[in-house]
Amino acid sequence: MRRRASLVLLALAVFFAALSPLVRWYAFPRLAKIPPSQYQDMVLEAKNATLLDYTTMKSKKVPEVSIVQTLKGNVAAAGKVRERTGRDVVVWDTLSYVADDKGRMVSRIPERYVFDAHSQEPVHAGGEHVDGDPVRRRGIEYKWPFGTEKRDYEYFDFQTRTSAPIHYKGTRTVHGLETYYFEQTIPWTKVKVPKKLPLGATPETVEQLGLERWYTTKRMFWVEPVTGAPVDGQEIHEEEMRWTDKPGKKPLTAFAGHVRMRPDYQKATVDLVSSQRRLVLTLTTYLPWGSLALGGLLLVGSLTLEARTRTRGRPPGAGGPPVSSAAPGDPARARRPSPAPGGSGGMAPGAVGAFTGAFLKLLPGRRPPDQLTPAARVPSCARWVRPLRDPPAKGAWDSGRATRPAHPGSPPPRTTRDRR
């Protein structure tokens, strides 16, 4: 019964020990993914910002400018890309909508972003665009990969349509969460005019006025490293309309302000990321380490049971390797091979047996085979079996005259009465 229980414990030990790397290295990359149907919005605001008034073509201070970003997963498009590439991808249709303090549109820039659902690596399966212009992204945008590292990443800037490094600058704590702080500075760069502007203005009308759009920003992100989700984002952002034919003329400030996450959205983001973080940690840390520890405990339990089984099965006073619970005179026992030198007995050969042997050294009053006296090292079954192979003369057992044949290192001869 104990032997059966030790085998069950051994099977469970292997189950949990195997589960540990399987969950971490096989299941995690396949399960931790951005769902293709994700829908998320974010509001950022710039207080006391400067904005270009397109009616007067003059810059003015406004109390607040809001940037509303919406990300919507396109499930049908993701399915088509998956059919073509065989990869689990997410297709985000996004909109960055800028509104002034009265809620009027300042600009709106749509995007399509196609990326790997686990690694966040861009997937070039067609359809990627920024404001209708086809692009080919490198690096990340909006979200970092699961298990963000303390290093620089390539970050796609949708205004310039190019990628540039975003630098890791250290760890910071945001609302109790440890985050990695990243910073990217885009120097003054000429960029395209958004296709949708106030008062029906278009890139063509702006060009006819002799203006071109320039932009610079310092972009800052506080990224929760387990999920790779930014829990705070800020930009010190400036845009100018520069005169193409009049380099000496003062440019018009189209926008200037310090953009921050609106506090209620930041709190909602922190709450969402905190719950997702626990799920990711379950797959990367809690389950792998927990099952490994449980596997170790079960293995110890299995070995303990096995050792006790064999200790109980030994004849009193014998120091040799364990014997089974079969009766000494059992002919079936005589046919069994003697235990392996590792001392594993009927438990297990090979590695498990070696482990058992090492474990037995730790048990009090139990000497491992290599430390036993020569007499004790003799396989115990041989001591019991030998008389059966050379049976004594009829009646010798009962008279107590029968002795076992000499065997190198065998203990002093015992009579059948001794055994009784």
Partner: protein, 44 residues
Amino acid sequence: MRALLAAAAGLAAALALVLAVTATGAPPGETSKKPLHTTVPAHP
């Protein structure tokens, strides 16, 4: 031998469980009916 069989059974069960869970995966869901915002939302 029995120990090897027990270990193999444990390993097979772990593999089967993980393969089954990963093969099932998560349903893709549906594209949200909510629009891309063109107004400033009042709250998250």
